[in-house]
Amino acid sequence: MKKILFFALVLALAVFLPMTATAQATPLKFLYYADATQAGYQEDMDEFIQKFKDDNPDIDLQVEILFSQAYHQKLGAYIASGQLPDVVYMWPTNRDSSLLLHSLKLVRDLKPLLGADFLKPFTASALNPNAQASKKLAELPQSFTYTTTVYVNKKLLADNGLTPPKTYAQMKAMVTKLKAKGVQTLLLPDGDQWPAQSCLFSTIAGRMVGDVFTDNLVAGKAKFTSPSFVAALTFYATLFKDGVIDKNNMTMGYGDGPGLLASGKAAMFVDGDWRVGAYLTDKSTGQALIPPDNQATDFVFINFPAIPNEKFPGVASGIAGVGLGITTAVKPGSDVEKAAVKLLKWYYGPEVQAMKLRTGAFIPTRTDVLNFEGLEPFNKMINDYKNTLKPSYVIDGVWHPDVFNVLNAGLQAIGLGSETPAGLAKKLQAAQDGLPK
């Protein structure tokens, strides 16, 4: 009998003690965005999430991790049902689910929450409230992202007697030589529709029409059918006509690019700076798509070459990056607010940001962690490349989704030869005119 009682007591303690401990902890709901297939995911889980949990037993961190459209869909559903998480991963602009966070004022200003002292090491561009759709520090951009980076296999070019191009004419002149060797000149996998717009056409528009013209387009003071904008679309069409980009890129999955570049099937690959992480060593497997020893010797990152008749030379599309925001579900002065601020300070603190730099996730806007010693060459190369650039708008950061979705589909259609630049310009104008006034 005594044994049974003792066993029952132990069982009761085992069941109820953790419940008591959890009940005292402050619950904090966190919706995080991560790709489990990307190198660096394990470090993210161990050094960011798990370490925070271990160091803060008084906080019951309830993390939900999603990626790509699944994330936006779930956040949209949470918003519609009034079940906002306390901390969310979000975009500074009106992209997908972030549109609702900004337009419905569902996130709080981080400036007073994090405090001036904490924000000191961050770049001025990261702290610029005007770079965000809700004109406040709705999220703290963890990086400044250039959406156009040309990843060049300079060894492959050299093997064919070529060098990285500085002008479009030089790029075009490579096509015959490379094609004869079964190599694509410039890779732009656009099966997911957004890369052509975000990673290439935004820079073409930035060079050929400029940001002021884009502001006027958005404000309805300029027309998409104007000759300068049609000329930008025409230059994009020329890339396919000249064979610089093969039309099969338009149905190629976004995930195919890094492998094709690394295996020498393409000499150049245009993508965002964030893609550098795809080539680094994955600590969980010890494998790298491009081994560190070959990174600096065989590859180089360049801006898109000079375009004929460009008005704004050298600009590349760039935008304040994503980051974490605290939602209005967190009441001022509450324990949850303290827990949320603690989580953000841990995330944006030197340890996690140094890990993000090390794993190639991004180049942090927190400047005191920018130490490249001991890191793989690509980490420093992408930082050096970014330091040479002047930013221009990324179209999906400034246009309305109803308009940039027409552009996304239209750029794919131009690549496949089923749309003309003038035709797409008309469709864009119609979409802009159809927006609610």
Binding site: K179, A180, T251, G253, P401, S418
Partner: protein, 370 residues
């Protein structure tokens, strides 16, 4: 009298006791969302809390007006119709034919074919979609095989041109232009001069390298660009729909054919009936109800096309393979336009009602006669 009344009251109570859970469940799970969806489609609600959030109001049929003039809506609707047609007039007849061939032992290895044709039904639709994506997409199996065939054919022509070795001449350039794919030549500003310059980079002892390079440069290359043309783009998807679910109907028909008394068929054969008469006079009438049920099943299943298409093409390229459900999803999640996406949802409900009416008609006209 009193007893009868009491019994009736009891019956009434029992009736409501048993029916009410189903009615409540139906109201919560089906009727309520449909009513809310109708409301949203007529509103200017743009996200956030429906009650207690930003105020919204009913603005009328604006979104339906937009839909009627939206070419993407009609494209998605047409794609839905294609799927219904391939389901009703593809899967069912093919399933019947295969079942008949196996049942009458017209083909050997019936059990093997039965297993092969049914196999796609036991694999996840997402896996099937990704599998076919890898076959028909850029850099996929189909592109690779076809391009190898084209390259092989072109190499044969090159061997003929270089039968006497590589000697640079204008005539050689002209011959190469003649056998080259016009699409491959389109990237040259002046094919004759450019090719001549290109050939100048090679020496006669590099003939095998030259042939390989010329094949890469001038042979016809196939790419799945037809996937970008509305209508044609749906062909691979429709084929996969046919491939996926024909086996289901095969099993259904075969199981019912096996119930037919074999003595009737044997007697008919002894009386001199041909295979066609056995089919038209015995098997088909015996299975008319099953065929009607199969048509109903496949029409209902055709509305559930989101998963396969999403995994295979994501509605692309250029949204030409979108069906109404994918268009609704994109409008809600990417464009964040809830009234329009709910208007699309309502059009799906209306389309479903039409299909249900159609299936009822089929059932009434041909069902349950065996």
């Amino acid at each position: 009298m009193e007893l009868a009344l009491r019994r009736r009251a009891e019956e009434q109570r029992a009736y409501w006791l048993f029916v009410s859970p189903a009615v409540i469940l139906y109201a919560l799970v089906l009727a309520f969302p449909i009513v809310v969806s109708i409301l949203l489609s007529l509103s200017n609600y743009n996200g956030g809390l429906m009650f207690g959030g930003k105020p919204w109001s009913i603005v009328g049929l604006q979104q339906y007006g937009k839909l009627i003039h939206d070419p993407q809506f009609w494209l998605a609707f047409r794609n839905n119709i294609y799927i219904v047609l391939i389901s009703a007039f593809g899967q069912v007849p093919l399933g019947f034919v295969f079942a008949y061939l196996i049942y009458r032992k017209i083909v050997k290895g019936g059990e093997f074919w039965q297993a092969i044709l049914y196999a796609p039904n036991i694999i996840s639709v997402v896996v099937l979609g990704l599998l076919w994506k890898m076959i028909v997409n850029s850099n996929g199996l189909l592109e690779d095989v076809l391009n190898r065939l084209y390259a092989h054919g072109f190499l044969g022509s090159l061997n003929h041109v270089f039968a006497n070795g590589f000697v640079m001449s204008d005539d050689l350039v002209r011959q190469l232009i003649k056998i080259a794919d016009p699409g491959a030549l389109a990237t040259f500003s002046d094919p004759f001069t450019d090719l001549k310059d290109f050939l100048a980079g090679y020496t006669p002892d590099q003939l095998s390298v030259l042939k390989s390079d010329l094949t890469n440069l001038l042979a016809r290359r196939w790419s799945p660009e037809f996937m970008a043309r509305p209508g044609v783009a749906m062909l691979p998807i429709l084929f996969v729909f046919l491939w996926c679910w024909t086996g289901l109907y095969l099993i259904m028909f075969l199981a019912n054919m096996q119930k037919i008394d074999k003595e009737i068929i044997e007697a008919a054969r002894i009386d001199g009936a041909g295979e066609g008469q056995v089919l038209s006079r015995i098997v088909l009438p015996s299975l008319s109800g099953v065929i009607a049920n199969a048509v109903i099943l496949c029409i209902a299943g055709s509305l559930n096309s989101f998963t396969l298409i999403w995994a295979m093409t994501g509605g692309g390229p250029m949204n030409v393979t979108e069906v109404l459900s994918i268009y609704m999803y994109r409008t809600a999640v990417v464009s964040v336009n809830y009234p329009l996406s709910n208007a699309i949802a309502m059009s799906i409900v209306a389309f479903s009602l039409v299909l249900i009416a159609l299936t009822k008609l089929v059932e009434k006209r041909w069902g349950g006669r065996e």
